[in-house]
Symmetry: C2
Subunit: 373 residues, 2 copies
Amino acid sequence: MPKVVPGRLQTVTETEWAQGLIHSWNDANWFDMPILVGNKIAPLIGASFEQVAVGDSTSVNLFKCLGAAVKLNQPRNVILLEGDNFPTDCYIAQGLANLLPHVQVQYLEPRDKLEDVLSKDIAVVCMSHVDYRSARIRDMKSTTDAVKAAGALMLWDLSHTTGAVACDLLESEADMAVGCTYKYLNGGPGAPAFTWIHPNHANIIETPLTGWMGHAAPFEFSRHYSPASGIRQMVCGTPQILSLSALDAALDMWSDIDLDQLWAKSSSMTHFFIDTVESLCGDHGLTLITPRNKAIRGSHVSFTIDEGGFEIIQALASLGVTGDFRAPNILRFGFAPLYLQFADVLHAAKQLKEVLDTRLWDDDNFRKRGTVT
Amino acid sequence: MPKVVPGRLQTVTETEWAQGLIHSWNDANWFDMPILVGNKIAPLIGASFEQVAVGDSTSVNLFKCLGAAVKLNQPRNVILLEGDNFPTDCYIAQGLANLLPHVQVQYLEPRDKLEDVLSKDIAVVCMSHVDYRSARIRDMKSTTDAVKAAGALMLWDLSHTTGAVACDLLESEADMAVGCTYKYLNGGPGAPAFTWIHPNHANIIETPLTGWMGHAAPFEFSRHYSPASGIRQMVCGTPQILSLSALDAALDMWSDIDLDQLWAKSSSMTHFFIDTVESLCGDHGLTLITPRNKAIRGSHVSFTIDEGGFEIIQALASLGVTGDFRAPNILRFGFAPLYLQFADVLHAAKQLKEVLDTRLWDDDNFRKRGTVT
């Protein structure tokens, strides 16, 4: 947790809420926070000011974008996703297709070449920039070029990118992006997600989630929806101010960071972890599934293991090292370059060796239970 | 602000987040909070345990319900709303109809009798139980009966009901309900909203917002969506835990409240305010638009005034009395029976008299700006 968060929440509760009451929607800028917080995320993803809206969850924001995309790119009616994308991306597309009889979902399998499946029916392609399991980076510029050359819209999921990996949405001329803020941005449990729309589309796109906070004049209380200009229309209902404020405080730390240095640190940390684990734990059957080539490696490292993956992660947790188990057999370790030191990386690798050497994980205490990414 | 909130947020940040890390999704019940918090709201709206899901905004939850309703009640294709409903209800219906070419939105005008417009095409009727302007209560049982007799589904917006007015969803056999928690429940700025689905529908309904947190097994990371049983499928993405925790703390206060006494207090307070304002401010051109009949009166009181409505509310705010201006000419005063005393009601009426008698409002200081309900 960023150390500034408790103090900020104290201000928000005891001053802005308890004393300012509803006047804080104006006086404390609550009303504008979705865009003001978005402005702090923009430099991390290669976007400009007033192009990012923060609020709702990644899932809800995916729905806004996919719904808007199939509407914008009619009569094309297919949503193309990686079958191995983070599940909520697939689920949201399926939910939209279930609602819209003419829309279909098509999956890009690992064996498929993107160019081969980009048919004339594909309205939008939704991909993760960094794969949530392997950490493989899909090249943003060439992928976007291919998708747009085929007449489809390009929607990027930046959940495993933002705050750890270089990203330039405007330079790659992508159409839309979403992402979460509770991983490398450390915005808090379930912190609100973000949405970016290319400025060429921002005023013509039609979000399906037309809430009053995205209206051009919410306090006129008119019967008919009229979208606010720019990214503001992607704000839907009333934003959850406490969660949004914690994220806002966490983002203040980013204002004077040299991003190129930070991305380089991420790359060095993951390299160091791979090297150290392979030399310390080489005989325990771990198989690296993260690219060794740093140019296509995100900020987490994943190994598969035949047996006990879930329990190994639980045993590590008992030693103070937090990784994720990802079904069916993946050990995943994320490295937040703004927060971690190389000593932490070495410590994690040594604890992993300890767990494997002593078979600490092979114990009833480390029973099955889930954790959230 | 409920006094328990800052302490609870301190626990959530410094213990659950900073020390518990992602393990708090299990250890601090974050994963189950949408349902656990819903269980605390259930008694206030006449619902049972495990029937209410908390999260997202009222707008997003309206979309889930309306999308599910037009799917469930095919081939009916019309959404009927009060034209004078709170605008986001109309906007969300319009957004759904814009996405779904076969769906249409029809408005019930104040002059219309509901029974006369309940055609065979109407899939779902969405109404506010308590009107956000006049505070008029629409009878839940007879309205639901009429809607269901005509073959439509009944969706109630309880935003101005919950925590102030008696409500019995199960007894009236309604189909769905949504509501906000930042008015009479005092859950915090933009606190997460709730969704209720009648248990007869909960396992057959198909929400359009199929996020991973509503999946039957979110940690299996399977490609295809499979809904969780019961109300859990209405949870979509990862919940915003800080905002949800503040609401949870605010709701603890309700566990030993005699609700019938509380509803009676609301009714007495609004009666007292009407009486006092009419006797103190009778010559200032205020016209009551709230029912005098307590059986159909919610927990706020509204007057129209020809001139200066916005500025009067601003002038009152400068004296520490918080009301709302609702365009074009409405002064609205809400009375939270759990929090306010009759002395507060008297004080508000006296300050209103002061503002009107001295024409305090007729000053450049009280310029145009918006506030959030």
